[in-house]
């Protein structure tokens, strides 16, 4: 059984790193500005919703509840054990980075773009911590985890709907794109496709998370004490 779990962790690690490579390397092929909006949305989805849970699941699960005293660790701990905080961080980062002002600024400034890249990753990791984190004690009980993911999914869906229906031109369109020029991917279509990516596949990622939680829940032996103490209180 141990072998199975180790293989699974290695698989998660490889998948996470591969996708990180995809998300990281793609913009290097051509300058970000020349990328369609929808490609950037794809990158954001990977960074915030797909890569963090994969990398988190590749960590070994520990039973420690985290009692580090003082320093940055304690602050981190203080946030990570509060699902409401991680929920707000995750969804907040999703919404804030897709505010047209910030989203367009990140296209113009390479520095901000770089910052956005890591911010999405880190906030994504914080969001997934109560679901896939490596500390058993800080994981939400499965049913509450489903509520956590479902409400976040709703928030993400609404964001997707808002982007899809936003007036054309709200988000910067690529000036010229060698890759997509031949596709005749008009700017309004590109923007709608970006919103739809957030709306539909974005939602599917959360559903996968929820199904994973259900599988974990049904895998637990009946009567097992589900570690609830810390997270439930802060919800």
């Amino acid at each position: 059984m141990n072998g199975f779990f180790r293989t699974r962790r290695v698989a998660f690690l490889l998948a996470g790193l591969t996708l990180l490579g995809v998300a990281r390397l793609t913009p290097a092929l051509e300058w970000v500005e020349n990328y369609p909006f929808s490609a950037r949305m794809m990158q954001h989805l990977l960074l915030q919703l797909v890569i963090p849970p994969l990398l988190l699941l590749s960590l070994p699960l520990s039973d420690t509840t985290g009692t580090s005293k003082g320093g940055a660790n304690a602050i981190l701990d203080c946030i990570l054990k509060r699902p409401l905080a991680t929920w707000l961080l995750g969804l907040g980062s999703m919404w804030i980075w897709h505010d047209p002002v910030l989203c367009n600024a990140a296209v113009r400034s390479p520095l901000l773009h770089e910052f956005q890249f890591f911010a999405l990753l880190i906030f994504g990791a914080a969001f997934w911590w109560p679901i896939a984190g490596s500390r058993a004690g800080q994981r939400l009980p499965p049913l509450l985890g489903i509520v956590y993911l479902f409400t976040a999914c709703l928030g993400c869906t609404v964001l997707g709907i808002v982007i899809t229906f936003a007036p054309p031109g709200v988000y910067l369109a690529p000036a010229s794109s060698a890759l997509f020029g031949d596709w005749q991917f008009a700017a309004p279509v590109d923007q709608r496709a970006g919103g739809l990516l957030m709306w539909v596949p974005g939602c599917l990622i959360y559903i996968c998370g929820i199904l994973g939680l259900l599988a974990r829940w049904y895998g637990m032996p009946e009567g097992m004490k589900i570690p609830t103490a810390a997270p439930e209180r802060s919800l």
Binding site: T164, F165, A166, V189, V200, L211, Y218, E222, G223
Partner: protein, 741 residues
């Protein structure tokens, strides 16, 4: 091996017995079993009405160029048939079974909120009466069950039929949401010891998932029909393109409800099938976890695919692509269920009772409906066959071949429990075969009719090759179905008096409802068997071979969540969705597709002050709660009064702002801005009023010292009040602050 009862179940029933006789006892009842029966009987009456409507439609369509019905009457009939069958037959039937059996199956004494339950039921007949009263008030609604805008607007539907349709649906929607909240609270807080959520019978589990669908899917419908009513009664133009409105927004709102609604009508039927098939295959359900988890997957997916009802409106290829893909995904969890049911039957010693016959036919017919559904997910096929009889055939295979067959299976399965007598198997078989033949004859040929181009909702058709033949066959099938329903009715009324006595457990089933007498006593269980697995009665009969080998002894009852809290949170989830829809509509009309019109200047500073009052009222209410916890009654009353005063100031402020706007000529129908402004802020104000009313009741109870559970009441109403404040923060930011950016 029988556990003693928890004390609340040991009540003296003699006091209730005198109240159990006479027709008034049925009107006044709050017993979940009687309410369940009332639901089923009411649905049966409307089933007869909706059935006669469909027969009239089929008579008209039996031959080409028929003049039996006028075009107007035809429109009214198909609208009433659809609305009746969905809102007055299928949903109430499913709610009726859920009402009767969910508490029994989890070993509860009643629903969590019995009086709310009675209210939910009584909204059903009154909603139905409102809908049908339209016939006397100038004509029934005639814009189809989904009232496509702008056909549903006054210029195209000038009778009051649609207004009655809207009000009836609002009434029925309130009842449905209340039932769903009740079911959620019941399942989460009223379970017997040992009945953990992972051991729930699948019928209960699916009703739980379904209830979440109901509380989240009805708000979009309510928002849409309220907006339609404003269009029709106050000359607004939400869905009226000639005045800047958007007919497409109606479709988005309606189908955001309409698609989950399909699963709301299917999931409980899946639950019934999941109970019937194992019992008559003498095997536990194959892959319980997969059936349960796929239910969740279906429920979640159902909210993300509604746009596939709109492929033909020109959303753009990119939208069509995404929704085609996500719609096809639904086939996976549904397919998982079909395989599980089939695998349950595989190798079982199957007893083909009437219930099992219906369940088996369900499997086959639902697969046909599901497969034709997948063809619709392919957008180019949808463009060809949408609004043709192919579509009619598809959804009847899902709703009749699926849901109704599930209901028939459940009826034959559970009738003995409800009445104490078995339905006649002989007449059951006649009913079954007539239904299968009639149903497939009626609707299978409609696939062909649709594919050769016959549009639905048109009152007649020319004499084209094969059209007359297929239509005649379909009409013959419909009348066969009519006969089958008559057979069912006779069977019910005959068996009710003369059927064979059932005993407690005629099918040797395993779930808790069979552990009590048939029909169950008022308090449901004299003795509750211990629950150590998913099939308590199997474990009881086979102590040497229990389902859960390593099961721990029955644990002491867990401290269940407070039912008021669960109920209030579910209610808030539903209300939040309602406001989300109104906010999205506001954004759509003012940011995405602004139509112009007179600029309106809002006094942000003044409203800002009133906003602070409202926010302060949340703080005072929090202080009131704290005082109550510390037992300081006087301070509790003072903080509560302060909260009411602050809420009142906010309302007065809003009233002054409205008065000012009216004086400057800004009315509901001035522009889409004013319409969406008044709708959004008005509904918020209405919620503040409701909150104030609740707080006033609390204050009065506190004055009269008539509190039984003050802390819980204050906590629940406090949650609602904080929710109303949070909504206002969002509304204030979007309506008042955003334009300043």
């Amino acid at each position: 091996m029988k556990a003693t009862l928890p004390t609340p179940l040991l009540v003296d029933t003699r006091a209730h017995e005198s109240a159990e006789r006479g027709w008034f006892s049925w009107v006044a009842t709050v017993d979940h079993k009687r309410i369940g029966l009332l639901y089923l009987l009411t649905a049966l009456v409307f089933f007869a009405i909706g059935g006669v409507e469909s027969l009239l439609i089929r008579i008209q369509l039996a031959v080409p160029n028929n003049t039996f019905l006028s075009p107007g009457a035809f429109n009214q009939l198909f609208t009433m048939h659809g609305t009746t069958m969905i809102f007055l037959v299928v949903m109430p039937t499913l709610f009726g079974f859920a009402n009767y059996f969910v508490p029994l199956m989890i070993g509860a004494r009643d629903m969590a909120f019995p009086r709310l339950n009675a209210m939910s039921y009584w909204l059903l007949p009154f909603g139905g009466l409102l809908l049908h009263f339209s016939v006397l008030a100038g004509g029934a609604p005639a814009a189809g069950w989904f009232s496509t805008a702008p056909l549903s607007e006054t210029p195209y539907n000038s009778t009051q039929g649609l207004d009655y349709w809207v009000v009836a649906l609002l009434v029925l929607g309130v009842g449905s949401v209340a039932t769903a909240i009740n079911l959620i609270a019941t399942v989460l807080t009223q379970r017997a010891p040992g009945m953990s959520i992972r051991r729930l019978p699948l019928f209960v589990w699916m009703n739980l998932v379904n209830s979440f669908l109901v509380i989240l899917a009805f708000p979009p419908l309510n928002a849409a029909i309220v907006m339609l009513l404003l269009d029709r009664q106050l000359n607004a133009a939400y869905f009226f393109p000639a005045h800047g409105g958007s007919a497409i927004l109606w479709q988005h709102f309606f189908w955001a409800f309409g698609h989950p609604e399909v699963y709301i009508m299917a999931l409980p039927a899946f639950g019934m099938i999941s109970e019937v098939i194992p019992v008559f295959s003498r095997k536990p359900i194959f892959g319980y976890e997969f059936v349960a988890a796929s239910t969740v997957a279906i429920g979640l997916l159902s909210f993300g695919v509604w746009a596939h009802h709109m492929f033909a409106i020109g959303m753009g290829n990119e939208s069509v692509l995404f929704f085609a893909g996500s719609s096809m995904l639904i086939a996976i969890p549904t397919g998982v269920k079909i395989f599980n049911w089939t695998a349950t039957m595989w190798g079982g010693s199957i007893r083909f009772t009437t219930a099992m016959l219906f369940a088996t036919a369900f499997l086959i017919q639902f697969v046909i409906g599901g497969l034709s559904g997948i063809t619709f997910a392919a957008a180019p096929i949808d463009w060809q066959v949408t609004d043709s009889y192919y579509l009619v055939a598809h959804f009847h295979y899902v709703l009749f071949g699926g849901s109704m067959f599930g209901v028939f299976a459940a009826l034959y399965y559970w009738f003995p429990k409800m009445s104490g007598r078995l339905l006649s198997e002989k007449w059951g078989r006649v009913h079954f075969w007539l239904t299968v033949i009639g149903f497939n004859l009626t609707f299978f040929v409609q696939h062909f009719l649709g594919l050769i181009g016959m549009p639905r909702r048109v009152y007649t058709y020319p004499n084209l090759p094969y059209w007359a033949l297929w239509n005649m066959l379909s009409t013959i099938g419909a009348f066969t179905l009519g006969v089958s329903v008559a057979v069912l009715l006779c069977n019910i009324f005959w068996s009710r008096r003369r059927g064979a006595m059932a005993g407690d457990n005629p099918w040797r089933a395993w779930t808790l409802e069979w552990a009590t007498s048939s029909p169950p006593p008022l308090e449901n269980f004299k003795r509750l068997p211990p629950v150590r697995g998913r099939r308590p009665l199997w474990d009881l009969a086979h102590p040497e071979n229990p389902d859960e080998k390593s099961a721990a002894p029955v644990s002491p009852p867990e401290k269940a969540a407070d039912k008021n809290l669960v109920g209030m949170l579910s209610f808030i989830a539903s209300e939040a969705t309602f406001f989300l829809m109104l906010i999205l509509a506001y954004l759509f009309y003012n940011v995405v597709a602004p139509f112009g019109g007179k600029a309106v200047v809002l006094d942000v500073q003044k409203t800002g002050i009133y906003t602070l009052c409202l926010l302060a009222s949340s703080v005072t209410l929090w202080r009131a709660e704290k005082s109550l916890q510390r037992g300081r009654e006087g301070s509790f009353k003072r903080w509560l009064a302060g909260t009411i005063a602050l809420g009142g100031i906010f309302l007065i402020g809003q009233g002054l702002e409205y008065a000012h706007l009216w004086q400057t000529g800004v009315k509901m129908n001035t522009s889409l801005y004013s319409t969406s402004f008044f709708t959004l802020t008005g509904f918020h104000g209405l919620h503040v009023c409701v909150g104030l009313l609740a707080l006033l009741i609390l204050l009065r109870l506190a004055m009269m010292k008539d509190f039984r559970k003050p802390a819980e009441a204050v906590a629940s109403i406090g949650l609602y009040w904080h929710f109303v404040d949070v909504v206002w923060i969002v509304v204030f930011s979007i309506v008042y602050l955003r334009p300043l950016l």
